[in-house]
Symmetry: C2
Subunit: 349 residues, 2 copies
């Protein structure tokens, strides 16, 4: 039997653990897997592009477990009342190839994206960073606010969205958080004095959400919204002025902000910073940029945590996804009750 973790199960599981403690555990799992990055079987995600969006498969394996995530990105979906991004994932046993768990991952993806941003900022932002600007108040925005608050203690936010409804939604959702939030009237106003700038807008196009003149010395940019071919948020000049850190270069060069740059544009891999093999921030005035696109290893970490958490809980159900004949070679025998009927005669063993 395969364990199935539904949307309601994930909500209940997080409730049972507590949202902030769950985020902290997730951060620990993600960081642990970045620390053993070399062990993973890694590849850029497999994307099927269409007019209005993309469907992607994101596999990863550490040699013991295998995971993949199915995720779509369809910017027009909200016009139909649907999510821009939905996802689910599977964890499997490498030794047998059998799937062990199927889980919702729309919520889980939002959590891991925010956690990875906070993890990068832990190594790249100035240690005394206390104010974050958030540009774009869509589905991912509150998760970013929560992760930076819970994991890094960033309590001061300056936020902006062109859409008043998105802003109102954000305001309602973060009302219970212990945050000091300034609602700015423009991106320029929001980024004023911010130590960290998170860009998380939704348009599927090359946009200039942040231009070079808005970025002061010493800022860390958490560039989350530029995450597929043709979709960027940062003016090219910013990338030339700062130092760029990425998850998996082969994928980020296709999907991230650095799709604007030459194929040999220098970047540093985040795992190298986390393990101390490469420098992160080198000076107070340096501009650091985390060009986040989301990588399969982060989903692997997330599924691993969910799988560890659900053992002995009511937060999953068993589903009959994989056949289990008494004799493994006798697959056809499963159709025995079918066979006779299909042949127009009784079943004669």
């Amino acid at each position: 039997m395969v364990k199935f973790v539904s949307v309601q199960n994930i909500v209940d599981l997080i409730q049972a653990n507590g949202l902030e403690p769950f985020l902290q555990r997730l951060a620990d799992y993600v960081e642990a897997d970045f620390r053993r990055w070399g062990l993973f079987d890694k590849a850029p995600r497999v994307a099927a592009h269409s007019r209005d969006g993309v469907i992607e498969l994101m596999p990863a394996s550490d040699g013991n477990s295998y995971s993949f995530k199915y995720v779509n990105g369809h910017p027009k979906n909200p016009l139909m009342g649907l999510q821009t991004v939905t996802a689910f994932g599977v964890l499997a046993d490498v030794d047998t190839g059998y799937p062990q768990m199927l889980s919702e991952m729309t919520i889980a993806t939002a959590l891991r994206t925010a956690v990875t941003s906070a993890l990068a900022a832990k190594y790249l932002a100035r240690p005394d960073a206390e104010t974050m600007a958030i540009i774009g108040l869509g589905a991912q925005s509150e998760f970013q606010a929560l992760a930076f608050s819970a994991l890094l203690g960033v309590k001061k936010l300056r936020v902006f969205d062109t859409d008043a409804e998105a802003t109102a939604k954000f305001k309602t959702n973060v009302g219970w958080l212990d945050l000091d939030i300034a609602y700015a009237a423009s991106t320029e106003e929001a980024v004023l004095g911010a130590d960290i700038i998170t860009t998380i807008t939704a348009d599927k196009q090359n946009a200039t959400i942040l231009s070079d003149n808005m970025v002061g010395a010493g800022v860390h940019i958490n560039a989350v919204g530029g995450d597929c071919p043709g979709k960027t948020e940062l003016q090219r000049d910013i990338l030339l002025r700062g130092d760029v850190f990425v998850e998996f270069p082969e994928q980020t060069r296709i999907e991230g902000e650095i799709q604007q740059m030459e194929p040999d544009f220098p970047v540093t891999e985040l795992w190298q910073v986390i393990t101390g093999q490469a420098a992160g921030r080198k000076s107070r005035d340096q501009i650091t940029i985390f060009d986040s696109v989301g990588f399969a290893v982060e989903d692997f970490s997330t599924l691993r945590l969910v799988h560890d958490c659900i053992q002995g809980t009511p937060f999953y159900t068993d589903i009959d996804l994989i056949v289990a004949p008494d004799d493994p070679r006798n697959l056809f025998g499963l159709l025995a009750p079918v066979a006779g009927q299909g042949a127009g005669e009784g079943f004669h063993p």
Copy 2:
């Protein structure tokens, strides 16, 4: 909600349709998709190899629907009472990226593999072929026997396996079929006088199940067992003497019998034969070889059939795999009941 088709659902669905009628419908769907081959977004499967096996993802899309299959291949699994091959698949809507159906595919894969073999033989074997040899009586063998009988009227079988238990299982399972079966004492004896030779052994190694001297003029070889790197069944000389037909050359050159040959070894694509763009069998004496490895489009066809068949039936259940907040941008709101508790205080909207 996503429709979930369990193992039991598939068995019941096939029972409701009748096994042979269901195979016939599946053959129609597979042939229809081979006829519009050019429409498909195609790629070799994405494989994660490990010591004892492989886990693969097989995506395909016709621009309206998208499918992928998860499938493993672990030859040692039967020693642990597990299936060598298990699979499940998903059908999704390209316009929204939303998954529509999750289905078991272990049984479905066995059916589509056999159906594709029969489809290839319809175009490649001599029209008067009436005797088939089957070498290897594992999990796929009865499906091949049934498909060739139901779809091509091949009623005479000559079969062999080195394992007496596998042979006994086969004998029991096909007892109800209207077949004339000779149980041979060796591969050499089984292939004597056969018009079609199906090789479907399980060893994950380069083996010589069939050597050149066993293959007479005019034979069609349905080479099913050589289906991953390092696993072949035919002596190289046979491939040089006959004409080889494949599903998707980019994948077959990695996984099929032709992995033994140079990268430019000439092959003909099956869809070209089916659409009349390339010749199939050209003479009675020609040796034709279908180098079957299984391609994602066949799984697409299978999922499409299952999806069409289950509408209005009890053969699926809805599962809560994808979030559905009232406001699509308000993903965080789903955690509202969680949030307060996680922050150690009540939830204040």
